[in-house]
Symmetry: C3
Subunit: 118 residues, 3 copies
């Protein structure tokens, strides 16, 4: 399991300081909503928290690439994690066959929990 | 699974702005402690977080009524979720047969996690 | 399951007010990093959150001693919970045979989630 809590202001200032941070963290698909508009800093911060929580759930072994985990949302807005490459390899190594994720952002705080089951 | 983090000040100002909000969100039993005194805004905010976390755990399909999920506490103060009506129907649809909840509130932040198992 | 969110400033001022608080809450091993340096208030606050989350996951029956639950980290920095005495007895009473923990601290907020499985 993994939890991560991210003050949104902190995430936003880091992303303003480091222009390429958003590109490095998120896939092109993650950076926009299903409607095609840019995601808000709140929404991106929650996705960052999800990736950090996932890394913790997988024992944060290092060597995992940010783009190898992607937060996708279904038609009802429900988030899930799609993994590939380095992250899928780590999950397979641990025998993880199912991932559960939940996101929250409100009043300046983004958070996520991930459970890796298997 | 669902997580929700609620800044208590935000919850409190929303409930002051909208007089009927507390009634809409909580059952009569939820609004008081086992000792019969009114719950603090902190305690209510944590219960609101629990309902939001539950909605997320159930895929937040819409159409669920706030009063159909109730946070109850046992003699030792341990919280659990009682569901009925719209929420019970959704849980049954997903094959959920067990709900776990935990609440936290401290220093301005209320949070809750819910796991729906089945 | 248990969640706990702790504003770090609040934790720090409590520990400054009450000199023996840190000793009461943490084992000698918990108070230092694997490298042997004192843990930061952030890191201790996250460990406090973990103990509170564990207590909630075990139904917070009272009578559990803070030192009977210890957050240990493996070579990769991954945290886990070691329990003994009062806490191990309570876990056995509930049939819990596996504990999962995750910690987070960032920008003033420490948090932890614990799942007790069994």
């Amino acid at each position: 399991m993994g939890i991560d809590v991210v003050p949104i202001e902190r995430f936003e200032s880091a992303s303003l300081r480091t222009a390429e941070l958003i590109d490095r963290l998120f896939t092109a698909a993650e950076r926009v909503t299903p409607a095609g508009t840019d995601r808000t800093p709140e929404s991106l911060a929650a996705r960052f928290a999800a990736k950090e929580a996932l890394a913790k759930a997988l024992g944060a072994p290092g060597g995992m690439k940010w783009h190898d985990a992607e937060v996708v949302v279904d038609a009802g807005g429900r988030p899930s994690l799609e993994i590939r490459g380095t992250v899928a390899a780590r999950a397979a190594e641990l025998g993880v066959n199912s991932l559960h994720v939940s996101l929250s952002h409100d009043g300046g705080i983004a958070s996520a929990v991930v459970i890796a089951e298997g």
